[in-house]
């Protein structure tokens, strides 16, 4: 393993993040605040409580997850798509590094950025609602795993995309609906039975549910199922990336 090269890629990617630190932090903070105003204050005032938790607090885990997932995907996909787009990918391909090292560098950086922003949102939400975290370790584990797995997905999207439209397509058409329908802002038990069944095919449900359990000790699906789902999802992403690595698909064709 060429750890020095991984470190170079990681730090280089992170430096881009810190260069635009203000944008990186301000926009998620503002959008989170808006979610609290709309969902928490306007709608939440009529919903009162969900399974014993105030609605404002109930949506915090979902909100963090929503942002972390979209940030991990967009950072990772952009991170690897940008060198492809401006042509600097030649440097990665002609350096004495293998694909795994490239993945670790880029995915690691994207996951770190997403984690940063997730933590910022969590901190922001403390200003709006009272939250206690019952299982802090599990909370961190779910958060970190989600950052990594969605950064892996983002990396795949970045390799696959041939233009900026495609880069936006998957997050917009697939990920956003899955996240919104994944119980970020409601409990699955609030849905009619049919849609509850459909929701079980949505991987995001498991992630949000597990993450929410870490906060409030209540969940839509068993925690182990959540862990299994995130492991399966990560495994699939790693498998796909391994395949890309083997065939050189869209990189060394």
């Amino acid at each position: 393993m060429n750890w020095a090269a991984i470190r170079s890629i990681y730090l280089y990617e992170m430096s881009r993040f810190f260069r635009t630190l203000l944008q990186s932090f301000v926009s998620p903070v503002i959008s989170t605040s808006l979610y609290f105003v709309v969902f928490g204050a306007a709608i939440g005032s009529r919903i009162d409580q969900v399974e014993g938790v105030s609605y404002g607090a109930f949506i915090v885990p979902g909100l963090v997850m929503l942002t972390v997932m979209t940030q991990a995907i967009s950072n990772a996909s952009f991170g690897i798509y940008f060198p492809k787009f401006i042509g600097t990918i030649y440097e990665l391909l002609s350096a004495p590094i293998n694909f795994l090292e490239i993945v670790i560098g880029y995915v690691g950086a994207a996951a770190t950025k997403a984690l940063f922003i997730g933590i910022i949102i969590l901190i922001t939400s403390f200003f709006f609602v009272d939250i206690t975290i019952q299982h802090p370790l599990a909370m961190v584990a779910f958060l970190v795993l989600t950052c990594i797995s969605f950064a892996l997905l983002g990396f795949i999207i970045g390799i696959w995309a041939k233009n900026f439209e495609q880069l936006q397509l998957v997050p917009l058409l697939i990920v956003t609906p899955l996240v919104f329908l994944g119980g970020s802002f409601y409990s699955i038990s609030m849905l009619p039975p049919f849609w509850q069944g459909v929701s079980m095919f949505n991987p995001v449900v498991y992630l949000v549910s597990g993450f929410r359990w870490a906060f409030f000790g209540l969940s839509d699906v068993p925690v182990l199922a959540s862990l299994g789902a995130i492991a399966l999802f990560t495994g699939i992403c790693v498998g796909v990336i391994g395949l890309i690595f083997k065939t050189g698909w869209r990189i060394r064709e």
């Binding site: 280089y12 440097e91 002609s94 004495p96 590094i97 064709e253």
Partner: protein, 311 residues
């Protein structure tokens, strides 16, 4: 001298069936400058990309310093620096950071002294903190070279280093290449400018349609392949070539004062002696005699053209 780069039977075929390289064999000696000459689409860039790991070969093998580029890619690539044809740079990055990053990618510890040496060598030191987008085209090209040199490679590939560059910058680039050669770096450059190959290369390879037509010492190539012209100035202008000289391949200039004779230096008899005596027999008074060697360009056009005829 030993070959630092060995290419054997290198083939590259694309999924659509197009064969960009049709079995290339090439040996490059340590410390030399070799120019790969060929028209656009000849396979020059594909050859370089395959050696450097940007595309994978369909078959054949390549070793750099004895290291196979696939099985021992880390050792092989560590020896190679690549300067791409396009100006592929991150516009918002500073010069010094982008060069540092290139060094880091090779897993080397950050050594500012080396980065400084490279930047000074390329007259970029005073621009080190500028963003790449603020630089002129010629400077950006030099940044690409600096990036390629950041890990102190022993073999440097320059893909069309002077494409779209004005005359002065081209001379600059040639000076840079000469300096690099002095420092012991082996240089492989591609170009479609013949004068470039003529000016800086030790050896010239001609590539066309995925085939390496020949690789030869530049002067030997010109001597072997070259046609020479003998221009004879005569004192009194003539209207037509005299009967006596009809058997020679002669052309008469418009003012009637220059007779040009084209001959092949490879031929056993050039016919110069008999031509000159025939001229005096025909009563022509000679005032001056001059010979001219054909340039690489003409050799190249001849080769590529022959290749087309054969196809």
């Amino acid at each position: 001298m030993s070959a630092i780069l060995q290419v054997r039977g290198l083939r590259k075929a694309y999924a659509n069936g197009f064969e960009a390289l049709k079995g290339v064999d090439l040996d490059i000696e340590e410390g030399e400058i070799i120019a790969l000459l060929g028209p656009n689409g000849a396979g020059k860039t594909t050859l370089i990309s395959t050696i450097c790991g940007i595309t994978t070969a369909t078959s054949g093998n390549v070793t750099v310093g004895g290291h196979d580029i696939e099985t021992d890619f880390r050792a092989a690539r560590s020896m190679i620096g690549l300067v791409p044809q396009e100006i592929n740079l991150e516009p918002f990055e500073t010069v010094v950071n982008t060069v540092r990053f290139s060094r880091g990618l090779f897993g080397l510890p950050r050594k500012d002294k080396i980065v400084e040496t490279v930047l000074r060598q390329l007259s970029l030191w005073d621009k080190k903190d500028n963003q790449v987008k603020e630089l002129s085209g010629g400077m950006k090209r030099r940044v690409l070279i600096a990036k390629a040199l950041a890990h102190e490679p022993r073999v440097l590939f320059l893909d069309e280093p002077t494409a779209g560059v004005d005359v002065e910058l081209r001379k600059d680039m040639w000076d840079i290449v000469a300096t690099l050669k002095q420092s012991g770096v082996t240089i492989i450059l591609t170009t479609h400018y013949i004068e470039e190959a003529e000016a800086i290369a030790d050896r010239v390879g001609v590539i066309n349609k995925g085939e390496l037509l020949l690789v030869e010492d530049k002067t030997a190539l010109m001597a072997r392949m070259g046609k020479k012209e003998l221009a004879v100035q005569i004192t009194a202008p003539i209207d037509t070539i005299p009967e006596l000289l009809a058997s020679y391949d002669l052309t008469l200039s418009e003012n009637g004062k220059t007779l040009t004779y084209t001959y092949d230096t490879r031929a056993e008899r050039t016919g110069i002696t008999s031509l000159l005596s025939a001229m005096s027999e025909a009563g022509l008074q000679l005032s001056d005699v001059e010979t001219r060697q054909s340039s690489l360009e003409e050799i190249f056009v001849g080769l590529v053209h022959d290749g087309k005829d054969a196809a």
